[in-house]
């Protein structure tokens, strides 16, 4: 049995995302995908799905949705006060949905982005191998755009009830992002680190930066001290990755996020480590952060440990895909 979801209110930039559109960066196609990969994967696993099924990425103000059919869902990431039929509903666990139920979101408690997974996934056709929405290109996800009032989202065939065998294991919880705090974000140094002045290097390591309101899925612009280059040699365009921190001519760093260009020509001072990209994605405009340098070995060890925890969760839930 397949199902449908009616969109009563669209929320702000609610759009379908999966783990991204890979294999086409050499054509200049941005990867896109969930901003918070960790929350996206958790939501899918808790709904009994493979981790690359599309989830609904919900930002700041959530949508109001009516489920026409019975299903199961899970919500992970930011706590945007989800309510089911008017009652508060728990994050980070499977939720059974009766036909006709209404899901809404309210006040932001912490974080910025929540991920809604439905059992079996959303039934939209992949474009170039991915269900991720690319709004600038107008393709992928649901009609290549964010949700609008009156949309009807198709759910995939209901794959049978999902009965997880175990609760969320320790170490799989979301990182907490306190709105008033200065969030430490770990980075490895970039290939152009030495092309900044010693003062700029010191400033980068010590400064508190604020997320600019001019930040989006493509990149987070930072407000704080401008970083001076040690030379004026122009850079030849080359590849970028998720978390690359580039410094354009004005000296203000930009952290490249899910919808970054595949290549670009600004100096790369550092890279946010993969396990902390989840933190970055949950920081809202005006929130503060500071960078902490770690070695590549440490970054990859943390990454491998997190993959192990997720594999344990997958095994404990009996999700095989």
């Amino acid at each position: 049995m397949s199902g449908r979801i009616q969109v009563l209110k669209p929320g702000v930039q609610s759009q379908l995302q999966d783990l991204g559109r890979f294999g086409f960066q050499d054509l200049g196609v941005p990867v896109c995908g969930a901003m918070d990969e960790w929350a996206h994967r958790l939501a899918n696993l808790l709904a009994g799905n493979a981790q690359d099924e599309a989830t609904l990425e919900i930002v700041l103000m959530g949508p109001s949705l009516v489920f026409e059919n019975a299903t199961q869902i899970a919500i992970a990431g930011a706590d945007l006060s989800p309510r089911l039929n008017g009652e508060p509903v728990a994050m980070h666990q499977r939720i059974d949905i009766a036909a006709g139920s209404q899901l809404e979101f309210g006040r932001r408690v912490n974080g910025l982005r929540a991920y809604l997974a439905v059992r079996g996934g959303f039934a939209v056709d992949p474009v170039m191998g991915s269900r991720s929405t690319y709004v600038r290109g107008g393709f992928g996800g649901f009609q290549g755009r964010a949700l609008r009032k009156g949309d009807v989202l198709p759910m995939a065939d209901f794959a049978g009830a999902f009965e997880p065998a175990a609760p969320l294991p320790a170490g799989c919880e979301m990182p907490s992002v306190e709105p008033g705090a200065v969030t430490p974000v770990r980075v490895t140094t970039g290939e152009h680190w030495s092309r900044f002045t010693p003062e700029a290097q010191a400033e980068f390591a010590a400064a508190v930066y604020k997320i600019s309101p001019q930040s989006d899925r493509m990149g987070y612009r930072l407000e704080g001290p401008a970083l001076q280059r040690a030379d004026s040699v122009e850079l030849i365009s080359e590849a970028m990755s998720f978390g690359t921190i580039q410094v354009p001519a004005d000296g203000l760093p930009i952290v490249l996020m899910a919808e970054r260009h595949s290549a670009g020509g600004y100096l790369k001072i550092a890279h946010v480590i993969s396990v902390d990209l989840s933190l970055m994605a949950q920081l809202a405009p005006q929130q503060a952060l500071r960078f902490e340098r770690v070695s590549l070995e440490e970054a990859q060890t943390l990454y491998l440990q997190r993959e192990q925890r997720l594999a344990q969760l997958r095994a404990s839930l009996g999700v095989t895909a």
Binding site: G28, R136, A239, S241, G243, H261, H271, E297, Q300, L304
Partner: protein, 224 residues
């Protein structure tokens, strides 16, 4: 480049020889793939390997570096890939090429001379990037060399043909941009539903062919 991407430097200058080495390396890495590498992104002087560390063992970076060095042990085939020869029809000047007169003035040429030199340049695609299907096209006649516009436009119509420094480009989608726009093509460069989705590929040789505005309109309307 962070904990999930390795950048390989192949040269320091933008030229056909470096480009041939870049694509020689890409061919080698496709013939003898490395487990865990899921995206290979060539640029003017570099090749980036996006990889999944969990598929490369306990010391992922070291394992990947060793695998790359092993593939570099034998000399690369740097014969420039034959590439295809593709004609791109362009309606030069007027509303479709709003910077043509300005370019001519800056280069000390007439608009006719700019068009002639642009059509006769030895265009070759070095890389795609910036936006889906956006080609960086080298080989521009040195007489047309000029900087990008000091203030980028916020919206450039699809099909716009631009020049800046020693390169040409064509905008496949409406995006912001700072190149000097000298004309527009009715040809669609990117279609996500097509296979392959991009009309052009690195290594292709491009010839710009002049068309008049009625032909431009006819070709534009003839597209599905």
């Amino acid at each position: 480049m962070g904990d999930r991407c390795l950048l390989i430097g192949v040269g320091d200058t933008v030229d056909p020889e470096t480009s041939a080495r870049v694509f020689g390396l890409v061919r080698r890495l496709k013939e003898r793939p490395i487990a865990g590498v899921f995206d290979i992104v060539p640029a003017f002087t570099t090749v980036a390997l996006h990889y999944r560390p969990e598929l490369l063992g306990a010391a992922p970076f070291e394992a990947l570096r060793a695998a790359v060095l092993e593939r570099l042990a034998e000399p690369l085939d740097t014969a420039a890939s034959a590439g295809r020869s593709i004609d791109i029809p362009v309606c030069y000047g007027g509303e479709l090429g709003p910077d043509l007169a300005d370019v001519a003035a800056q280069c000390g040429l007439t608009t006719e001379q700019v068009i002639e030199r642009h059509m006769q340049s030895a265009h070759r695609i070095y890389m795609l990037g910036f936006a889906p299907g956006f080609p960086f096209i080298g080989g521009l006649d040195p007489a047309l060399k000029m900087p990008r516009r000091s203030s980028p436009r916020t919206r450039i119509p699809p099909g716009s043909v631009g020049i800046a420094r020693d390169q040409s480009c064509v905008y496949p989608l409406e995006t912001p941009g700072g190149w000097n726009l000298i004309g527009r093509t009715p040809v669609r460069l990117f279609d996500p539903a097509a296979d392959p989705p991009c009309l052009l590929a690195p290594g292709d040789r491009v010839r710009f062919v002049r068309i008049d505005e009625p032909t431009y309109q006819n070709l534009l309307e003839a597209q599905p």
